[in-house]
């Protein structure tokens, strides 16, 4: 039924009661029931899996394809209004503790003028929700508030509701007003109709209209306020359903048996080695994928430990001690990000030049949970088989399409239902474990739940954050103004997020026999479009691509930025602020070096080279909130022989070159006798356009700063090249920030910019800690440390080397 069309022929206000009844019958006959009627709503506002999941016993029986194809260009794919007037939103952006589900409910309440309690949200289920790729990269605000996203769908729906009501009341939409889901005639409040009465559970049957008027953020009443996160109460009460808590009838428990060495292959599996164990153990082998399935977790854990597998020797690994040199010697795929062609000449005429090398290790997501998924594959393989996967993946659709390939089942027969795991921070083991559960369920013909052990996760399941080597050269004129900037980097990758053509992009897909696309070395081409997605371009250059206006945030005109990617021996994948964190660490520390050697205050020197007013604003806001006193670095006020010295450092970035703006001041103390760095205070300023939820944004900003503090002070993947073993396989061998250590004071300044579009915030602050802390360490001890992590041993060695001079 087309809501609009029906009323072209009938004006309800002119109808007799009989005609009205007849029309209702007609409506019923012609309407498709609202999608909302498929969703059983429970107490909570955010349905996600929580409510569907509470019914997971029944859900196990629910169909694979719930609503037919979900077409993201149609309003009905995003929003439905029930006969009770409740609004249900469908979204492809998931909740993993970042608070975005609450923001989406706020957006629904805002654009449709209904109370928060009248909005339900269903997210990330290929049976119900539109394909929005992955929830990652601080892209959710951009996607949902931008064209063709949730906000446009809601605005189109509101426009249709107003038109419908105008026909009902025989007036024009501009004569109507909406309050709490009730539309009334401005001049006569007695003439009113609720959404529920108006729509009667029908579909909109409309395409998203990107010209539908959007509410002006300056008039927001629900967005822009700190609506408490809707997922928190159940989490605090312990009743929240994480993927680990999905329980299906007849469900068995699986564990993976991973190669002990990187790249080892299965030679033989002695199934008899677990035959006498309790728990009806079944062994699943698919090429180099090995798993065990048993009736309980404990039985599966024991069987996994005792299964006798003969493995081949592993791949040759580079020596960790010479990793960074090795990286610069490998064949590489090169990208010239920007090149004005004059850098050598300008460098030659510079009054003073600077050069340095910065290095960053492989790091882990190190999610606190063992990754977990539940799969129910029926009918084996082929056209008639089906699969349902309860998965904490960041991308339900890419996973549906790639799991289908792994299982040999048509994608239309696969349904992936997102269920929250622990914080993932990117491509941890969540996608791999979903393959594992699917492979094991397919083999045993029963629902199987798989959880990774700590070693499975850390040493054989997740896709690490990339290592980096960055070489710099820069030059200044007589006045100390930067005139030229050269950046050359090497990073290493293997695999990435998987999709239909690349199941081999992650560990389990590769073990099951799918090819990991090899790196193809290639020479750099002349750049034709501006992109600073990886933040390889520092904030101080103009971002000049020939024939285009400069799009960078700085003023340095002569620039060259060249990135090289080599083949990694370990799987890699996005880790919160991928590449951007590593590049910003290098860029912002090198900038600090230059300021320092010119005797300039680091804040003032940065401001001298910035052109983007929004970046300037966050730098000023952070400096002022931190009561930054202008002076050169290092901190000369400290007592020379003090055991503990203190310092402060600043850093700033426009995330991805076009996303959120932030600046961070870090304050540290350094124990000169032990090399232990303690962070005492972080002051962040952040601007991402109109703020949706101040408290949520502060929460994300605080968490980002602290997580990156752990990463830069402690975290590094380690391996033994001789044995081929990754040696960082638990929280003792991969130390991280622990409870009991000093909790720094956190101060966050939010800049609410209503004049621009919404952008992301989740990965802004995390991008800055390594550089701000590095600069603060220099300020405290007067020695520049150009490698992560800033472990006590590294810091102490630097102090001793400097004092020995």
């Amino acid at each position: 039924m087309k809501l609009g069309n029906l009323f072209d022929t009938f004006k309800r206000s002119q109808m007799t009661p009989d005609a009205h009844v007849a029309l209702k019958k007609l409506e019923k006959a012609r309407s498709g029931a609202s999608r909302r009627d498929f969703v059983k709503t429970a107490g909570g506002l955010v349905i996600g899996f929580s409510a569907l999941g509470a019914a997971s016993q029944a859900d196990a029986q629910s169909p694979i394809n719930v609503t037919g194809l979900v077409d993201a260009s149609k309003v009905d794919s995003w929003v439905s209004i029930g006969s009770d007037g409740d609004v249900t939103i469908y979204s492809g952006k998931c909740e993993f503790g970042q608070g975005f589900s609450t923001v989406q409910v706020q957006l629904g309440a805002e654009e449709l003028y209904v109370p928060l309690s009248q909005v339900k949200l269903v997210y990330c289920d290929t049976g119900y929700t539109p394909d929005q790729g992955t929830t990652s990269g601080s892209q959710s605000h951009i996607a949902e508030f931008g064209p063709s996203g949730l906000r446009s769908a809601l605005a189109t729906a509101r426009q249709a509701l107003l038109q419908l009501a105008a026909q009902w009341f025989d007036t024009t939409p501009d004569q109507l007003v909406i309050k709490d889901g009730v539309i009334s005639v401005k001049s006569d409040a007695t003439q009113s109709i609720s959404y529920g009465e108006l729509v009667k559970g029908a579909r909109f049957n409309l395409a998203i209209d990107n010209n539908a008027p959007l509410k002006d953020p300056a008039t927001y009443t629900v967005l822009g306020t700190s609506v408490p996160r809707m997922d928190i109460p159940a989490k605090a009460l312990g009743t929240h359903t994480y993927v680990h808590n999905v329980r299906l009838p007849g469900m068995l428990h699986g564990r993976v048996v991973r190669p002990p060495f990187v790249g080892a292959k299965v030679m033989s599996v002695n199934q008899g080695s677990v035959a006498s164990l309790p728990g009806k153990v079944q062994v699943v082998v698919v090429k180099d994928f090995v798993g065990v399935v048993a009736d309980t977790q404990w039985h599966a854990i024991q069987a996994a430990g005792l299964l006798d597998v003969t493995w081949s020797s592993g791949a040759t690994l580079p020596d960790q001690a010479s990793l960074y040199t090795w990286m610069t010697q490998q064949p590489s795929a090169d990208t010239m990000v920007v090149d004005t062609g004059d850098t050598e000449a300008v460098m030659a005429s510079a009054a003073k030049t600077f050069s340095a090398q910065y290095v960053h290790p492989y790091q882990m997501h190190g999610s606190i949970a063992g990754s977990c998924a539940v799969a129910d594959v029926r009918g084996g393989t082929g056209k008639t088989a089906t699969a349902k996967i309860w998965s904490p993946t960041q991308g339900v659709y890419p996973q549906r399409d790639s799991v289908a390939v792994v299982l040999g089942i048509p994608p239309a027969n696969v349904r992936v239902i997102y269920v929250e795991g622990s914080g993932c921070y990117g491509l941890n083991g969540n996608d791999s474990v979903s393959y594992d559960a699917a492979l094991m369920s397919q083999a045993v013909g029963k629902p199987v739940r798989v959880v990774y052990s700590r070693r499975d996760e850390m040493a054989a399941g997740e896709s690490y954050g990339q290592p980096y080597v960055v070489n710099f050269k820069a030059g200044v004129d007589k006045g100390g103004q930067l005139t030229v900037w050269q950046y050359d980097s090497w990073t290493a990758t293997k695999g990435n997020r998987p999709n239909a053509t690349t199941p081999g992009n992650i560990v389990s897909g590769a073990l099951a026999g799918f090819v990991t696309p090899p790196l193809v070395p290639a020479a750099a081409k002349v750049p034709t479009t501006f992109s600073n997605n990886g933040n390889s371009q520092c904030s101080y250059i103009t971002g000049q691509i020939a024939g285009a206006p400069p799009q960078g945030t700085g003023t340095v005109a002569s620039q060259r930025v060249l990135t090289r990617t080599i083949a990694s021996p370990f799987f890699t994948g996005p880790l919160r602020s991928p590449s951007r964190l590593q590049n910003t660490f290098a860029n912002e520390c090198f900038m600090d070096e230059i300021a320092v050697s010119l005797g300039q205050d680091p804040v003032q020197y940065r401001l001298r080279h910035l052109s983007d007013p929004r970046l300037i604003a966050v730098v000023n806001a952070a400096a002022s909130a931190a009561a930054w006193v202008s002076r050169p670095s290092p901190n000369v006020s400290i007592i020379p022989n003090a055991k503990v010295r203190t310092g402060r450092g600043i850093s700033c970035v426009l995330y991805e070159g076009n996303n959120g703006y932030s600046a961070l001041v870090a304050e540290v103390s350094v124990d000169m006798t032990t090399g232990v760095v303690t962070c005492t205070r972080f002051v962040t300023a952040i601007e991402s356009g109109p703020i949706s939820n101040p408290n949520g944004m502060i929460n994300q900003t605080e968490g980002g700063v602290m997580q990156a503090m752990s990463r830069c002070l402690k975290e590094q993947v380690k391996w033994n090249a001789k044995s081929g073993i990754i040696t960082t396989s638990d929280w003792n061998s991969y130390p991280v920030y622990n409870w009991g250590e000093r909790v720094p004071v956190l101060k966050t300044v939010l800049l609410n910019n209503l004049k621009v579009s919404q952008t992301g915030a989740g990965e802004c602050s995390i991008t800055l800690s390594a550089s701000a802390i590095g600069n603060a360490i220099f300020d405290a001890i007067g020695v520049r440390i150009r490698q992560i992590p800033y472990t006590p041993a590294t810091v102490l060695a630097a102090i001793q080397a400097a004092s020995g001079k």
Binding site: F96, G97, Q98, P228, R229, D231, I232, P233, A234, K235, A236, L237, G238, T239, H240, T241, Y242, H244, N245, R247, P278, T296, Q297, W298, I301, G366, S367, I368, A369, G370, C372, E420, G421, S422, G423, Y425, V451, R454, N695, N699, Q700, E702, G703, G704, V705, M706, Q707, M709, D730, W731, N732, V736, N738, W739, G740, E741, R742, V743, P744, L746
Partner: protein, 158 residues
């Protein structure tokens, strides 16, 4: 097979297991069908699996069922209910003191045990107490959790 009886959040539970070393965590997840105690490491290194055993915070992933039998187990879902949350849960909610929330059993229960014995404990004392065992929050929501625990120490929920 041996039968073990224990009390879980006030309710009796009897389980039959073949291995007396079966960790309590898996019994709580599979037999008692609890969501609160979570698997993080299975090694006693993170605290996701924390429960109170007779009022003492304990990592259930490294506690055998045979050692738990006859004892009273309290998980975070035993602290309060949606209608009547425990003051500590109220404080965590009012402070929005988490991101993913997966780690919450550790700081909540170790924090509660310490504060109940040391009313009025300061933030530094609370942090120090949580450092007496190995506890993690990988989302790094520590600052807000300290605020929530400190409110509880002061007898407040917000």
């Amino acid at each position: 097979m041996a039968a073990y009886s224990l009390t879980v959040n006030g309710k009796p539970l009897t389980v039959n297991v073949d291995d007396p070393n079966t960790p309590l965590l898996y019994i709580l997840q599979e037999n008692a069908q609890l969501n609160g105690p979570k698997f993080g490491c299975g090694l006693g290194q993170c605290g996701c699996c924390t429960v109170m055993i007779d009022g003492v915070p304990t990592k259930s992933c490294i506690t055998a069922i045979s050692d738990s039998a006859g004892h009273s187990i309290l998980s975070i879902e035993g602290l309060g209910t949606a209608a009547n949350p425990h003051p500590l849960q109220q404080a965590f909610i009012s402070q929005q003191a988490m991101q993913c929330g997966y780690c919450i059993s550790g700081p909540m229960l170790y924090g509660k045990a310490f504060i109940d014995k040391n009313p009025g404990a300061t933030p530094d004392q609370i942090v120090n107490a949580l450092g007496q065992t190995q506890l993690l929050c990988r989302c790094h929501a520590h600052s807000r959790m300290v605020n929530a625990l400190s409110l509880y120490a002061q007898g407040k929920t917000q």
